[in-house]
Symmetry: C2
């Protein structure tokens, strides 16, 4: 058995920067990142989530984007240039693309820290007020991002075998 290593705060930066960059590029939105925190017993609730697995020989983990409905409707309306008022297939497709782009971008940053891994396919979850739980013996880091329409969350969990 290999014990998971303690959390390394520098691992969250690639996710934070990637989220800002992708929203800026794809939706012309300037999100305001809050202070990252270690998730304890509290759970972020969302109405739509994008989840993706990261798997390599030395690292495995999962990332989730957790969106209350108003936040993802704001983002998708800006991305596609028309107003979306409900969560439909177009919105779910955008969540998948955002999950791919944000994790893919972060992957490049993590590679510089010598953490190589492959990406799985994203999975989207739709359901009022659901919570995402990561299975990680190590910590789960959560970064809140504020928009006009509310706050959404980027969560990452890692297990590193050194």
């Amino acid at each position: 058995m290999t014990e998971p290593s303690p959390f390394r705060p520098e691992l969250i930066r690639p996710f934070l920067e990637s989220t800002l960059n992708v929203l800026r590029t794809m939706a012309l939105i300037e999100a305001r990142p809050g202070k990252p925190f270690l998730r304890g017993d509290s759970r972020s609730e969302g109405d739509v989530s994008g989840i993706i697995g990261m798997a390599g020989r030395k690292v495995s983990g999962s990332m989730a984007l957790v969106f209350p409905a108003p936040t993802i409707l704001q983002i998708v309306s800006a991305m596609l240039g028309e107003e979306f008022k409900e969560i439909n297939q177009d919105v779910l497709d955008c969540v998948g693309e955002l999950t791919n782009m944000i994790s893919g971008n972060a992957r490049a940053g993590l590679a510089k820290l010598n953490l190589q891994f492959e990406m799985a396919l994203p999975t989207m979850v739709r359901g009022t007020h659901h919570c995402v739980e990561h299975q990680s013996k190590g910590p789960v880091v959560c970064v809140p991002f504020e928009l006009e329409s509310g706050t959404f969350y980027v969560e990452a969990a890692f297990r590193i075998v050194s």
Copy 2:
């Protein structure tokens, strides 16, 4: 751009057998598998799901176990030898373990088909009547499993680069 290959039915068998074996071994439950089907527009609803990513150089994908509450409560009660009446942290931990075991077992079967990949960490979702959507240009295969308490679903989506 590489086009995804069409669905290969033999890819679902490792998941089917693995689910039966894990439930038999861990919970002494004989689940009755229904006919696998390609998921179209219909969505399986669950109250708890376990999701895991699979990532390799030639294959990427995701697997989800989608449980209505009565089915996972039956399974966890049998696994842990005491009656569970609500979805709590113990139940979520069991969902994570089941997701690990079923996908890990299936991985061994898929390796015999020359599909090697690493596993990500599982992610669990809790929320009444949520749906899981896989991002796959290829088909999403769903296998229903019947228990006394209801029907749960194992879903798998793959993208294979040949």
